[in-house]
Every structure is written in C-alpha cells, then in structure tokens.
Subunit: 390 residues, 2 copies
DNA sequence: TTCTTTCATTGACGACGGAAAAGAAGGCAT
DNA sequence: ATGCCTTCTTTTCCGTCGTCAATGAAAGAA
C-alpha cells in the first residue's frame, strides 16, 4: 500500500464511514437501518456517514422497485455506484500478465492479457505500464477515472511496504514494485501476494462476504491457500502463510521441488499430475488438458491419479479445518476444470480427515475465470482506496 | 463469559483504559510514556487512563530503585498491584481437578488438587465448589477478595455462552457450566477450553506477551495447540480449532482413536508412545515414566520411538507454521519431561518440513508445572474481569 | 381522515483521545 | 549556587464521533 501520486481520495474519514461503506459494498443494496444493524452502529450514525458518500457519488439511493409492498414507510436502499471509479488489477505470472479494468464493485469491465518474455523487473514494469495505459484508455472512453492499480504477484510480498521480497517464478528479490509502478503510472499502487489478493476479492465480493473465518484454496500449477481469521487476511509474520501446497500429506509420497516428500502440491499440482499420468498410463500427455481428456475418456490409470490428487487436497483442507475451524472453505483455481475428476475424493478425504465438528465446515467450489486473479489484484486496490482515508 | 453475581467491577470503561491496563499487565512496570508508545496512544491519554486505575488500587506507581541515573526527570514506573484481587482457576480432567489461587498478575499463591471419582456434572460441580471454597478461605487469610473463577475443560467449549458443548473425557454434552458454577460459588465464572486457556496465559503472562501471532503446542496424553492470530485466540467457527493432534502426518501410521491413521497424537501421544515402546522393546512399561526411564537408560528401541514422536510433533508444528506463519511456537505440556528425548528430532523435522521463511519461526519450549493448566483457567478469569467493563 | 407502522433525520449531548503548552524533577555546566 | 537542559508527566482546551431521544416522512389500514 503506497500512494505517492494524488488521484482522488475517498471521503471516509471515520471508522464508522469505512465500515458503512464496506458493508454496503459487500452486502448489496441495504436500507440504512439494515446497514446499522450489520455494522453494529446506530441508525443516526449511518445517516451521517452515508450523506457525504452520496454527495461524493460513491453511494446512490433509490427505492427497491420490485419489493413487496409492506407496512410503514418504504425503505430507501443504499447501494454502491460501481461506475463512480475504476480500478486496474494486474496479475503477473512467469509468462504472461493479465490485466482487468473493474468498477468500484469489482465487476470486470475489460480484460486483457499479454505474454511476458522477459522477467527482468524493468521489462515487467514496462509491460505493466503499457497494459495499464491501455486499460486507462478504455476507462477514458467510458468517461470514468481510474483511481487505483493493484498488482498481484506470487511469492513473498510485503503489501505494507509494496515490496516483492521473493518471487520464485519471476526470480525477483526485494523489488519495490509499488514505488516503481506508482512512478511510471502515476496511480496509487497496491502490491500483494496473488492468493491473498484472491482472498480479498472473495472476502469483499465473493463467497466469503460476511464471514470472519474462511479459507480459499486454489488448485492449479501450485496449490495455494488464503486464510481469513478474525475478519482479516492472514499474512504471516515472515511473509509466509497459507502454504497448504507444502503441507505433507504422505511422507512416502513423491518428492516435491521444496525438497520434501508428499506435499499436497507434489501430488495434486499440475506438473505432478501430468508426470504421474505419464508414468501410470504410459501416455505422453503434454499438459493438464491432455491429462484431463485422458481421464475423461475413462482411462483408469489417469482417473486414479486424479483421485489421489483429490485425496491430497481433501487432506490438506482437513488440516486447515482442524487447525483453524473456518466457517467455509472455497475451492477455486484453474485446476477446477478437472473438478469432476476429484471432487468426490476431495469431499470423502476431507470428511474422513476432519476432526469432530471441523467436518461441519462448508466446503464449496467456485469457478475461476482466467481473469479472476487479476480481479483479486483490483480488489486489493479497491481496499486500499477505501482505507487510504484512515 | 458470564457474570450473574456482582462481586467487584473493574474501572476500565474506555478502550484506552483496557489497553493501558493490559499493556502494563503483560509488559511489567513501564513509564507512562512507554505505555503510550506500546499501546499506540498519546501520553495524555495514558495519564488519564492510569489515574482511576491507581485510585481503585489496580495499578501502583513508584520510581525504579535500581535504575541507572539518567538525564531528565526520573521516570515513574506504573505496575499492576497483583495483590489487589485474587482469582481462582480450576482445570477439570477426567480423574482429578486442579485448583489454583492466583493474584491479578496471575502468580500462583496456592495450588490444590483433589481426585475426581464421579464425572457426573453435579458431582464435578460439587468438587469444584468445595475446592473453590477452600481456596477462598485461603484468600480470606490473605485478606484479599476473590473476584473471579475460571474453569478449563478439554473438548468443545463455548466460552461466550459458558457451556461445555462436548467433552469426551468427562462424557459431557451441553453442560451450562458457567451458570451452574456461578450459582454455587457466587463468583463470576469463565469457562473455556483448556488449551485455549493455557494460550491466554501465555499471551498475557508468558512467552506470547506482545506477540500478535503465535501458537502453543501441548505435548502429553493428547497433543493440543492453541493459536493466536491477529492478537486474538482462535476459537473456530464450530468450536474446533488447534487440533494439531489430529493432523495426519503419516497415512500409513498407527490407527488413532479418531478413526484415522497417523495422526500426530497416534504417534506422539502418551498412550501411543507407551504402546509402541512395549511393542518395539518387549518391555511391558506401565506408563510414560517407565517408558522415559527406559529410553534414558539408553534402550535403542525406546529412543527410536521417541525420535519418531519428535518427528511427528515437528511435522505438526511445521504444518502450523506453513499455514499461519506465526512469530513463535511455544512447546509445553507434561510430555516435556521427556523433552531431551525428542527435542532434536522436533527441531530437525520442523526445519525440514517448514516451507521457506516459515522456518524462521521461533520454536521454543517452556516447562509446564502441574498447576499450569489451572493457571490458564485463572488467566481467562482475569481476562473476563478486565473486559467485563466493556 | 386519522392512526399505525416503519424508515430516516435532526440536534443536543457526552465521552474520548489528541495537541500543545506548562509543570516537575532531576542532572550538568558555569 | 544558579540557571539551563533534558525527560517525564500533567493540564487545559478542543475537535470528533457516535448515541439518545425526539421529530419528521411516507406509506397502508381503519
């Protein structure tokens, strides 16, 4: 979180105002009274907090058209005007960067992706700037100002300082990305870990809205996990948290790139699945798509590999549930394309390995469009924008 | 947390006052300025918060006798007057109850334990009442009032409601223990899970003081874990949290009473160790004491069993570290008597299984006197006493 | 029309914490 | 000794925030 340039500031100067706004943001149109109830404030406080926000155009007011006629004065719903401001979210991977233009409600307006050929910070920065500029042009056409840029990078990221401490995929160490991007784009920049960014998006705009304790598990090339405890995203004292991918579920399992054996990722990560399918079936599948196709054609060996992956993921989730007791676990990720192949096994293994009431945790899935990661980045930018007032 | 009877109330009506008091409580005597710095308040606010607390006798003021003479006006240290109020903490196990009388600084003044023959809630309640009465007599002799009672029970406990939802060892279900104990003792009663209570004690008075993210791991008959994330003890949405004992570290391991294989507890719990030592060595050791003795005499088989237990615990801790990235892990428990037997293996396995920077987590041990569990219960009572003002 | 119900607003009020300045209590230098 | 300096502490003033309780507004119901 760093905001050198001044674009536009959010008029929520009090804790109550912030709380009111985020309540409306996460829980759709609400009456002022309902907002008060949810935010634990008095109705008067809400009225006062809402006024300047409506004045500045961030909130709008309107009756609920299709509401059943009820007794008493009709309610006036307060909602966020998504079109009041735009944000850019960019996810940087090892070989491409994905950018989205979202509104204040984190709805994607435009999505773009460009390949990345050079991982040098300066080259990546240039690509980010170009993409951001392109999206700003789109924003200009909509006639709405872009007021924040969020960047999501995998690895150890210090959001507070805006520094990428270490990113294995990009081979970066201590890159002050927020500062650099702020200089080239002139926007307030927020940098965060990709999984945490996705978790923020779920917390504010997704299946985690309103929950104080939940987990997001991403299945794909790597297996990641974002945790929300006591209503806040867990960052870890040393920058590491949510490393469900490197939880060991079988000490006798295959070796992982982290040096251990039987990590979840070493069994259920894309590379592991492809390698194992080749090994078991003898078919030289090139990637997950082919592996999935093989399994879908009914190949017993391939299906077995997916079942084992599901088992590993289910055990990993059970471990999270046993330790933290979240209300919900949201499974997402590119790997979800193969979800039918391991869904059952995930549930079975989870139910088996979850201890006592931990099994009551609501495990659900959520499709992950290719631009969802970038949307997560935008969500962090929105978060910073709203909190910048503090 | 429930306080039907009115004994005495704590005069901290503002958030700042609470924060100031807990800061002084956790960080020993401090100057007002230092308190302000640590609590994130202005010096003026501290002065104002401290006055009524001194007036009510909870805080005292005094110069630091053995301080090196420094420039400027000498500092006036503020400290908690431990003798201002007493608390009773009781840990209820399946076969005995342990009670302690502590002061406001959670220093143990008197400790007692009595065997428990009947696990029926009424019988247990009677024993608790008797023990509490006995300790109150001691308190009367000291001329200090007892202002709170804390009860620690293993299992699923709802602290907010003061209800023991389910305790396997006691075979209790939905026992409104706080209400019952409040009626018979006339004291405000706090009921909490035993491991969480111990964690509260560490957070306020032990190795967790000042940390916002740490874990307490208890090694003994069971393997438990208390977690503090974002400065608050994790309770779990469904009452379950910190079940490190049922994290599976080896799917091919021995069967656990929970139904799975290779849980940490099934490898490193007291019963598991005794059983395994018998199996490996052929010596029919009766309990952990004999098993430890055998290992200390150099029996290779027994030592191997302990090493394996250490490995399981180390892996379990690594899992916690990978998921939450705590600043510190505090290992404690009755099993610590055998610590020399598995310490090395815990460290090795932790270092091996911890991912990246998670290994930087400070893993330390802390001896656990027999009455420490009860002290944890007292700590929760102290916490409730201070917070009751809110 | 008037009452009832529910939602929303207003204005007075009190509490809380911060800023800044003054005060207090010592050492140190001249 | 006297005054200055440093550091800790207190005081006073003030702005902010959020609640309370009363009032207003907008419907349907009697």
């Amino acid at each position: 979180m760093r905001s050198i340039p001044h674009t536009e500031s959010f008029p929520a100067h009090t804790p109550a105002a912030s709380q009111v706004f985020t309540t409306v943001l996460s829980h759709g149109p609400l009456t002022r009274l309902e907002v008060a109830r949810r935010a634990g404030l008095s109705a008067a406080a809400v009225t006062k907090a809402v006024r300047p926000l409506i004045g500045a155009g961030y909130l709008t007011e309107g009756a609920d058209e299709d509401a059943p006629p009820a007794l008493g004065r009709p309610a006036n719903l307060v909602r966020v005007d998504g079109g009041r401001a735009l944000f850019i979210g960019v996810k940087v991977t090892g070989d491409e960067i994905i950018g989205v233009l979202t509104d204040l409600c984190c709805r994607i307006r435009v999505a773009r992706h460009v390949p990345l050929t050079d991982r040098d910070p300066r080259a990546v920065l240039a690509s980010i700037s170009d993409l951001a500029q392109e999206l700003r042009t789109e924003a200009d056409e909509l006639g709405i100002q872009v007021v924040g840029l969020g960047l999501a990078v995998s690895g150890d990221v210090d959001r507070g300082e805006g520094v990428v401490r270490y990113s294995p995929f990009l081979e970066w160490r201590d890159v002050p990305l927020a500062e650099l991007a702020a200089m080239t784009t002139g926007l307030p920049v927020t940098v965060d870990n990709d999984v945490r960014a996705l978790t923020v998006a779920e917390q504010w705009f997704g299946a985690g809205a309103g929950l104080t304790d939940f987990a997001v598990v991403t299945v794909g090339a790597g297996i990641g996990c974002g945790l929300v405890v006591h209503g806040r995203v867990v960052a870890g004292a040393h920058g590491v948290a949510g490393e469900i991918g490197h939880v060991v579920v079988d000490p006798a399992g295959p070796r992982c790139h982290c040096g251990n054996r039987g990590c979840v990722e070493a069994i259920a990560g894309d590379a592991a699945i492809v390698a194992r399918v080749r090994e078991v079936t003898g078919v030289q599948v090139a990637d997950t798509l082919e592996a999935v196709a093989l399994a879908h054609r009914g190949d017993a060996g391939a299906r077995e590999v997916y079942a084992r992956a599901g088992d590993a993921i289910g055990r990993g989730i059970a471990t999270v549930a046993n330790l933290l007791g979240p209300e919900r676990v949201i499974i997402s990720g590119e790997g979800l394309a193969a979800y039918d192949l391991f869904a059952e096994q995930i549930r079975d293994s989870f139910a088996e390995a979850a201890f006592g009431s931990a099994a009551r945790c609501d495990v659900r899935t959520r499709p992950l469009p290719f631009d969802e990661w970038a949307r997560g980045a935008a969500a962090t930018a929105i978060q910073s924008f709203i909190r910048a007032a503090d």
